[in-house]
Amino acid sequence: MNDSSANRSSKQPSELQMDSLLRDFFALETPSLLKQPFQRPTMSHEHLSHEHTSRVAISPAASASVSLVAVEEPTAARSPRNHRLIVASAISVLAMSLMLAMSVQEGQSSSSSTSAVSVAVPLPDSKSSEETMNVSSEGDQPSSSAAVSEDGTTQEELDAIRVSPLK
């Protein structure tokens, strides 16, 4: 153990060595770009977002010919945040369409189950209810002579029946 510590201390660099090492290290570590002036963005983000098409400028010097001066690719300047936004919106659209498809499927299956019920209990047909009913020309006037039942009972007779409680 003593040997290893002695070995270590013998390998330990001097203060001067460390000083020189650190100076060299930081000289290389400092980005040379820091010496350059601040490079502000040439176009604002708003401008980039509005201009999606390639811009073709026409040189004023050219009398008859049209020269392509600059073709901008604003998509290259898009930030990763924009990409994330696009991906997120695409995922949400997919999810919504999936949910819509599922709800439509559910609706179909539920309607088929109700139709199965409707076989047993037929629902009133709205179309037939809207049609005119067959009503006699006498309206709701009691018809005295016409028989309303098979045994020849007339409406008048039926109306004459009085139900009284048993004593």
Partner: protein
């Protein structure tokens, strides 16, 4: 180091002020960010981000621009650290040697050395790293550092010496070879 209130200056004046401030303080800001993350490229990005945000900022006048930039850069560094985004650059530090006359072996060896020291710097505690950055990156005198660290110049020298010794120990453990 109170900065002016450029939020209400005209654009050309403001641009000029930002240029001047960048020229005078970007190096110092980089060093401070470097002390936080031990990543030269990321520290540089933090400086750029802070200045860009200030360039786009049109809110209330900023009373202390240095503090404002530091806070923005620091927050940005924290965000990046949280996301742990792995940048796909060249070999660490290798791009700095592009265009130099040394042979490929020399460049590679130098790059490896830089990487080893960088790794060792990360192993140090914050105080040791800060004192080394102030001394060797910002080139501050012991008196300047004493003011910032609120201690005597002799104490600064002691801390520097201790930080160098710790770095040497870490490098030794890594098998670093001195030239």
């Amino acid at each position: 180091m109170a900065g002016p209130a450029p939020g209400h200056l005209n654009d050309p004046e403001r641009d000029q002020m930002i240029d001047t401030y960048y020229r005078e303080h970007s190096r110092e800001l980089w060093a401070l960010f470097y002390a936080m993350c031990s990543d030269a490229e990321r520290a540089y990005d933090a400086v750029q981000e802070a200045f860009l945000r200030y360039y786009d900022y049109h809110g209330e006048p900023v009373r202390d621009l240095r503090a404002w930039l530091l806070r923005v850069g620091q927050n940005w560094l924290r965000d990046v650290a949280r996301k742990k985004s792995s940048s796909c650059g060249l070999l660490p530090g290798l791009d700095e040697f592009a265009g130099r006359r040394e042979s490929a072996e020399d460049i590679l060896r130098l790059s490896e050395r830089q990487g080893q020291i960088r790794k060792a710097m990360k192993e140090l505690n914050d105080d040791d790293r800060k004192v080394l950055v102030m001394k060797y990156s910002m080139d501050w005198s012991a008196a300047q550092m004493a003011t910032v660290m609120d201690c005597s110049a002799a104490a600064v020298d002691m801390r520097l010496s201790r930080a160098r010794r710790r770095l040497a120990e870490v490098l030794l453990e890594q098998g670093f070879e001195y030239e």
